[in-house]
Amino acid sequence: MITLEQASVERGGRVLVRGVDLVLQPDALTVILGANGAGKTSLVRLLSGEWRPTGGRVLWDGRPLADEDRTALARRRAVVSQHSGHDFPFRAIDMVLMGRLPHVRRPEAADYAIAHAAMEQAGIAAHAGRRVDTLSGGERQRVHFARALAQLHEARQARNGVLLLDEPTAHLDLAHQERVLALARRLTREGLAVVAVLHDINLAAMHADQAVLMKSGRVVAAGAADAVITRTLLGAALDISLAEATGACGRTVFYPVPPHPSQPKGA
Amino acid sequence: MKKTALAIVMAVCAAGWSASAEPRVVCLGGALTECVFALGAGAQVVAVDDSSSFPAQAASLPRVGYYRMVSAEGVLSLKPDLVLASVEAGPPQALAQIERAGVRVVRISGDASVTGCVARVRAVGAALDRIEAAEALAAQIESELADFRPSPPDGILVRVLFVFARGAGTLNVAGSGTAAAEMIRLSGGVNAVDAYSGYRPLTAEAVVQAAPDVVLLTSSGLVGIGGEDALWVMPGLKATPAAAAKRAVAMDDLLLLGFGPRLPEAVKILNQLLYP
């Protein structure tokens, strides 16, 4: 799958990612955590092939990612980016059908069925005929998620796809956040490697198999989620004092505390 | 001059009787229209272009627009048998289409000179099958101009600046080789600018250097510039002898620059205006 060897990215004189070594685990949900500007989105762009490394290598099945045929790559790798709104009145279903672009020139009935199923999985099927410019931010986010699902339909069956999610829970309400991550986990069981950039550390702790902790363009910790998502590592990476508590089902919950806690609230 | 006018009146009357079987004519070019009327074929004219402002009968005929930009179907809708077009008339595609529709299109050249004027009269005569009338008119124009000897009263030639104004603030001045320069020469004046040919916008300094005694304009040009008062405040003109004496002369566009059958009349009028 995707391997990073000392990969760096420099753009406009700024080093955004420096010397990252990473082996993406198939069948796993890998969560990327880090403060704003830590290089999370840059790392996703390296993994997706949108950006080429200016140093080191990014390998796809052992070969440089940049050498891959872009259509062949698009059949196995889908990205849900952070979106800004745009003015073009596409119907939601047409947006999702764009995910079929690497597979067919003109979508046929089978592609409509795939798109429709993807929309059901993303919980947006009810809005299939609506124009995306009339949808809310969260609904649009789910349309893009469905597009990625439609794109990876064949890869799911071949169990060799990669799904890259850059803040997939932004704009989503709590129920849909849960739902998206639960779906992401289920996709890993189908053999997809899923990478998600998240800000919610508790959501990450709850769903991630693997975690990558970034700070200033470097990976400060990577590995099994349990080993990486800890109070001390997170605190150091995010420059914040954290406290932890054990919640229902024995799950650890992190919450921030002021730098000089006089009296922890409710403690 | 009176003779010419009389000839035109008689010709127009004569044409009134014999028009029915004659070909229907569309004229594209003011000088051509004048020729047609002067040759007594005015009643055959069914439409003219925007520049045909003389005689009055022509001005009241249907218009086909600016003669360089006529519409083929527009002209054809007037069911002409003959289109008399000056060489500048166009666009060429439209004239070709008119020809293809079975209408005779005669392109008539004739530069801005006495010979050009006479040639134009003869060409129109040939196209209308009025060769004798054309010969008579041509001979009359030639003799009238040959008899006319402009002689400045005190032997000093007046320097004339022809201003071709296309709106407030612009002074396009006629150099050598222009219709205006030829008219000035025929009328016994001297074109104040001969450093270039054609029309050019002249800087204020060059206008002062040209030192014209008279500024010559077309009537519509003078209107465009905003009248005589506006003329004298234009940069450069202020400091000329013409401004000091407030000598601006305006003549009808077609009469002054058309080089039509009224050429002798135009030359005499301009001469009188230059040497009052």
Binding site: F88, D94, P102 | P62, E73, Q97, G198
Partner: protein, 368 residues
């Protein structure tokens, strides 16, 4: 929600059909526009300064293929219909389609529904070249033995091409076309182009000046069947490419990065969009002169009626452009007959207020 937990996709469910999500206007847009186009073309044949009755039109057309109908007509009416009106209507339809296609391509490229083909410099380049032929051509071209009927269209096409190439060159410095640079380069070079026209107008005489300004307002009256065929040969490939690559154009609207991630060869598409617009619009305006607003308004109306999907937008915009321009031309050649109005004047007079109305309407809708 039944599918949400199953891992397989059921093919194809009854409520899922290719057209299942199409609203009525979307489904009927292309057929209705095709019918409208046919109606306007027929009306254009029947309406003109020279009165020709519908019966005569039919009789002349039938006579052309060897049929005899009981309406009499003269040679003049045949010539007007077959050699003036018919090619003119065909040129109008092709020109309208070309301008509208160019607009649709530019709106996709710039990801802006208000983009116009003139943005890439093709119009001002063509206008400068045409003005140059008008003003300095008579003194220079005869020396080269080039002053033929086609000197101006050829020069205009080359002029449009050159300025577009220059705009591309400026926007293409780092191995990829930067659309924001393309826009800015287009604005700068357009300004320079119109400054060039200004210089030429300064040295033009009155007749040339009028000719330049007439050209800048366009006319469909300067062509015959050979022009119509030439335009057909240039416009059809552009239409074919745009229809074929409509899914790529759709993806481009998501953003260049997104499109690339979907396997779209983004740089190739951008370059093709610019060059094909240059071909279609450049060829058109080199024969007709500048015609504004069609390229902007036609795709925009289609988008309002039928959405942004280029699989429908491209053919519908081509049809609407091909309908609007001959319609405007009917006005241009009849309102002041036998004088003809410049068609660019009519499109601007009709298109301008309509476009303002669209803008205001959209602002109101957004405010709600």
């Amino acid at each position: 929600m039944r599918n949400a937990d199953s891992l397989t996709v059921e093919l194809p469910a009854e409520n899922v059909s290719v057209d299942g999500f199409r609203s009525a206007p979307e489904r009927w847009l292309v057929p209705v526009l095709a019918v409208l186009l046919g109606a306007v073309l027929l009306a254009g044949l029947g309406i003109g300064a020279l009165p020709i009755s519908t019966g005569q039109v039919l009789a002349i057309l039938a006579g052309h293929v060897g049929l005899e109908l009981p309406w009499s007509f003269t040679e003049r009416e045949v010539a007007v219909l077959l050699h003036i009106r018919a090619p003119r209507i065909v040129i109008g339809a092709l020109a309208g389609a070309a301008l509208s296609l160019g607009g649709a391509l530019m709106q996709a490229l710039f990801r802006n529904p208000l983009a116009d083909p003139a943005l890439i410099g093709v119009s001002s380049g063509a206008a400068v070249a045409a003005a140059a032929v008008t003003v300095v051509g008579p003194t220079i071209l005869p020396l080269l033995g080039m002053l033929t009927t086609y000197a101006k269209p050829v020069a205009a096409f080359l002029g449009g091409w050159c300025l577009t190439a220059l705009v591309m060159k400026v926007a293409h410095t780092t191995g990829q076309i930067r659309v924001d640079h393309l826009l800015l380069a287009g604005i700068a070079l357009n300004a320079m182009g119109f400054a060039g026209i200004g210089v030429l107008m300064l040295i033009a005489d009155d007749a040339q000046l009028r000719e330049v300004s007439f050209w800048n307002f366009g006319s469909l009256g300067r062509g015959d069947w050979s022009v119509a065929l030439l335009l057909l040969a240039l416009v059809l490939p552009v239409l074919w490419w745009s229809c074929r690559r409509a899914p790529w154009l759709n993806a481009l609207l998501l953003g260049e990065g997104e499109a690339a991630l979907l396997g779209v060869p983004v740089e190739r598409v951008k370059r093709a969009a610019v060059l094909l617009t240059c071909v279609a619009v450049g060829a058109t305006i080199s024969f007709t002169g500048l015609i504004g607003f069609v390229g902007l308004v036609a795709p925009h109306i289609v988008r309002l009626l039928g959405g942004a999907d280029h699989r429908r937008l491209i053919p519908a915009a081509a049809l609407l452009g091909a309908t609007l321009l001959p319609l405007a031309d009917i006005f241009a050649r009849t309102v002041a007959a036998p004088v003809e109005l410049p068609i660019g004047l009519v499109t601007a007079l009709m298109g301008g207020p309509f476009f303002l109305w669209l803008l205001i309407r959209e602002q109101r809708r957004e405010a709600v």
